[in-house]
């Protein structure tokens, strides 16, 4: 299969790679960029564990092809904290509110919540629940996660 050259920015670093057209963005990030914080929980766009930001929008990287990200700015979980490692407000709130247990769904939730709060800095409880319903968690019953996003919103 012929390869296609793509140029994009991943967590602020410019990259150019030749990829198979069928390579998903998730596999590209995990295998070519070694950014394994993007997790694959279902490969069909339901669980949200693979959520990343593409030009600021939260997308499921298992449903996007790497070639579709050509020219885009991609941010993964590895690019959410400050360069010095300081946790972002959302990340810090997840820790404070016990918003994670096994951690597998966590990158997707953090990325989704980051985008949600950027678009809607003061969400109602219902908006939060609906806004995060596209990410699945088996450990927390969503209680700690919702508390964390609420706290991050309050922290502004």
């Amino acid at each position: 299969m012929g390869e296609v050259e793509i140029s994009l920015s991943v967590n602020g670093h410019a990259r150019t790679d030749a990829v198979e057209p069928r390579l998903t963005l998730a596999d590209y990030l995990r295998e070519r960029c070694q950014l394994t914080g993007t997790h694959l929980g279902c490969e069909h766009g339901v669980c949200g564990a693979c959520t990343v930001l593409v030009d600021g929008a939260a997308v499921r990287s298992c449903l996007v092809l790497a070639v579709q990200a050509d020219g885009a700015e991609v941010t993964t979980i590895e690019g959410i904290a400050a360069p010095d490692g300081t946790l972002s407000p959302v990340q810090a709130a997840f820790r404070e509110c016990h918003g994670l247990q096994c951690g597998f769904c966590t990158p997707g939730f953090v990325v989704s919540a980051t985008a949600l709060l950027r678009d809607n800095p003061d969400p109602t409880d219902d908006e939060l629940r609906v806004g995060l319903a596209g990410n699945l968690c088996r450990c927390t019953g969503y209680q700690g996660i919702l508390a964390a996003v609420r706290r991050a919103a309050e922290a502004g």
């Binding site: 394994t36 997790h39 339901v46 669980c47 247990q101 096994c102 699945l136 450990c139 969503y142 209680q143």
Partner: protein, 770 residues
């Protein structure tokens, strides 16, 4: 200052929050360099004779190194048959083949293994494997399977995998009862669905087998693989990297997993495998799957005289741990009630479905759901409030230790206390008043209130295998805690550091916790059955106590004092002579001196001060609680909305309330999900209808209210921490509470029972047909 009972934040979290932690599929270990990728070809038919497997095209495909079928595994002189889960209990004739060769018995069974240079090449080649099936009639329903009209293993002569009759006294059991209710209820099959599916990577290195695996029990995996491959346990190293949830489905070694070392050895290269979700939904063991007949008899005053539970377990196509779940159900059959007479008989049958194993609660949710439904049915029959009926039959708080008719010895409990606390927090009387008002007004949204009590068994059965810990004091005064409890989200690293800090005063950041690598931790059992804090934590606690005692003797030598006069000030993390706090010896000074005192009463060794032991409790523990659920049922559409869930869960003394609340939250969500949403379904031919997360009704944030948690701490006497398990409580108590609430809302329609999940269609049909 004590850290016990405080909300210490998890040390694990920063790595998870930044994506730095590596799960099995993420590993970039040098040992795995050049690894091949395995892709399993799985049966698409539930029951069929295999007439031909043609792998020629697949084997010739680009990047493919090997394709294995049953012909290869059967002919191999370096591979024994895959052993049954519990030899001696399950006949060898029911053992699962490594790869199906003659007959497939469920959709998802392995029919070939493709090994290639890349994952994509393996997947592509798998499409080229041609399997000819001659379909056989499938049996999916365990009740039908029990009739033995269609057999999965004709040579075995029956679909029954395991049956233990404990005695059945027929109608005589209910002699003297004014009222007897007899009903069959279903505890449906569920998909376990940890967010990380199964994954494993294997290599042979310097004559040893090295395994990286998403598992709850690395030592159990080590021992099982050692047995399969004729190795000593020391010749096998199992590493559990970050593990993305388990919930019971990652305790055992499955046939596909167990075959990977054989493939790696045959090809002389490391191999990797990570299942997709679609694969996982049919090949990861399922949970629950019981049909329960409840018979309950008693007086019109609400006193129960006798209870009989008859359990039919759907074990799936190959009986494994699931066949033993009914024994847990039997142990907990009477629940929180002082029924004078209890009988429980159990049987496990095979069906053409994915094998069943443990899922959060594993046999106890089924027992609780059954007895709670039985009490509701009994209450409805005699026209008494279900709470009142429960009160009349609860085991009294002064009756512990309490031996049940099914042989459990409950350690300690206060069931009425839990019930009172939950009812008060819920505002039970006000809820009933609101319910009456809505009924009288004929409102479209009717209120339902459900109450459940549960008691379960954790770290059981009695005489359990215990858990290992080693605590080592380094020369710089830092501490290493080695634990056999390997976590997958439970926060052991934080909790174990809290325990060691509590006894030593050494700052938690100076306490390293090491787990999940059988080379670094020589013994262990793992994290399942809500056992970790009470066994693994007690082991850490006891080993730390021994280290403190040894260190006190060393400090005494350094202080030139009698050991009996030396005290440890944990606030200052230093030893001094009692009454002379100004002259101290720090942990670093004691650690630098080393074990100059040697084991207590023995000669000096010069080794680091350390203690290693396995903590074993004399009894299991029996956490308990009460849940109140409030639902709104839309009488026009059958839609159910959970408005409130109030739970009082007692896990004994609490070490870290934040972690305990997290465990309760997760369990409650899964319990609610079982009541209202989740079910693994098959069509009559055994085709799975819920084989991805779009079709399986995995609960999301949008369906759940804020949970209302009521605290209660009744310490157990069976371990030094006073701790009981909390991991499964929510999933045990919430399900029957929510189920009862929906049935309660439908009471005016004459409904006394509905099976789960309580989908809008099921609820609507009940309202329109009863």
């Amino acid at each position: 200052m004590s850290v016990m009972g405080t909300r210490v934040q998890r040390r694990e979290d920063p790595a998870f929050l930044t994506g730095a932690n590596r799960y099995t599929a993420d590993l970039d270990e040098p040992l795995l360099a050049g690894a091949l990728h395995v892709h399993f070809v799985r049966s698409t038919i539930a029951h069929a004779r295999i007439t031909e497997v043609d792998v020629s095209e697949a084997a010739a495909a680009s990047g493919v190194v090997a394709v294995y079928t049953a012909a290869d595994t059967v002919a191999a002189d370096d591979l024994d048959p895959f052993p049954v889960a519990i030899p001696g209990m399950i006949p060898d004739a029911l053992a699962r083949p490594w790869i199906a060769g003659e007959v497939v018995r469920f959709v998802g069974e392995v029919v070939a293994a493709v090994v290639a240079e890349t994952r994509e090449a393996a997947q592509d080649a798998a499409e080229l494997v041609v399997v000819d099936y001659e379909p056989l009639e499938a049996v999916v329903d365990p009740v039908e399977a029990a009739r033995d009209e269609l057999l999965l293993f004709p040579d075995h002569g029956t679909n029954t995998a395991l049956e233990v009759p404990f005695g059945h006294s027929g109608d005589a059991l209910f002699e003297g009862c004014e009222v007897v209710v007899d009903r069959t209820v279903v505890n449906q099959r569920l998909a376990v669905c940890p967010l990380e599916p199964r994954a494993m990577a294997v290599t042979w290195h310097d004559g040893r087998l090295v395994v990286f695996m998403s598992t709850q029990a690395p030592h159990g995996v080590r021992n099982r693989l050692a047995g399969i491959y004729g190795l000593e346990p020391e010749q096998v190293r199992v590493v559990a990297p970050a593990v993305g949830g388990g919930f019971g489905a990652k305790i055992n070694v499955q046939a596909d997993e167990g075959l990977l070392p054989w493939i790696a050895r045959r090809l002389g290269r490391p191999v990797r495998w990570a299942e997709t979700r679609g694969e996982s939904m049919v090949s990861m063991p399922h949970g629950r799957g019981q049909v329960l007949r409840v018979e309950i008899g008693g007086g019109r005053d609400g006193t129960v005289g006798a209870y009989r539970l008859t359990v039919l377990q759907d074990a799936g196509a190959y009986p494994s741990m699931g066949a033993f779940l009914p024994f847990m159900t039997r142990t907990m059959a009477p629940g929180t009630y002082a029924f004078p007479k209890v009988e429980c008989n159990v049987k496990a049958v095979m069906t053409n479905t994915t094998p069943v194993e443990a899922y959060r609660g594993a046999g106890r949710p089924e027992a609780t759901a059954a007895v709670e439904r039985a009490l509701d049915l009994f209450a409805a029959e005699i026209g008494m409030d279900p709470v009142e009926v429960r009160r009349k039959n609860l085991i009294a708080a002064d009756a512990f230790p309490y031996t049940t008719p099914t042989g459990a010895v409950y350690d300690v409990g206060d069931y009425a206390g839990a019930l009172d606390a939950a009812l008060e927090a819920a505002g039970y009387d006000e809820l009933r008043a609101e319910q009456r008002a809505r009924r009288e007004a004929g409102e479209r949204l009717q209120l339902g209130i459900g109450v459940s009590l549960y008691v379960e068994i954790t770290a059981g059965p009695a005489g359990n295998q215990g858990e290992y810990a080693k605590v080592t004091l380094h020369r710089d005064g830092s501490v290493a805690v080695y634990t056999g409890s390997s976590a997958h989200g439970q926060g052991h690293a934080t909790s174990w550091a809290m325990l060691a800090h509590e006894l030593t005063g050494i700052p938690m950041e100076r306490i390293e916790v090491i787990a999940g690598d059988t080379d670094r931790v020589p013994e262990g059992h793992g994290t399942f059955g809500s056992r970790s804090l009470q066994l693994g934590g007690s082991a850490v606690w006891t080993a730390t106590e021994q280290v403190v005692e040894k260190a006190r003797q060393v400090a005494a030598e350094l202080l030139e004092a009698a050991p009996a006069d030396v005290v440890l000030d944990t606030d200052r993390a230093a030893f001094h002579v009692a009454g002379s706090p100004s002259v101290v010896k720090t942990w670093a000074e004691v650690g630098a001196a080393g074990d100059i005192a040697g084991p207590i009463g023995e000669a000096p060794t010069g080794q680091p001060i350390e203690a290693a032991l396995t903590f074993t409790a004399d009894n299991a523990t029996f956490p308990f609680g009460a849940h109140v659920a409030v639902v709104e049922v839309d009488t026009e559409t059958g839609r159910v909305e959970l408005r409130r869930i109030v739970t009082c869960d007692d896990a004994g003394r609490i070490l870290n309330p934040m972690i305990v609340e997290g465990q309760r939250h997760g369990g409650i969500a899964q319990g609610v999900a079982q009541a209202l949403y989740e079910e693994v379904r098959y069509d009559a031919d055994g085709n799975p209808l819920t084989a991805n997360l779009a079709d399986y009704a995995f609960v999301s944030a949008a369906e759940l209210p804020a949970f209302e948690l009521v605290p209660l701490e009744t310490p157990t006497p069976v371990n030094p921490l006073g701790a009981k398990g909390i991991g499964e409580s929510g999933a045990i108590g919430a399900t029957p509470a929510v189920q009862s609430a929906v049935v309660d809302a439908l009471a005016p329609h004459g409904v006394t029972h509905l099976d789960m999940p309580l989908t809008p269609e099921r609820v609507w049909r009940a309202m329109t047909t009863v």
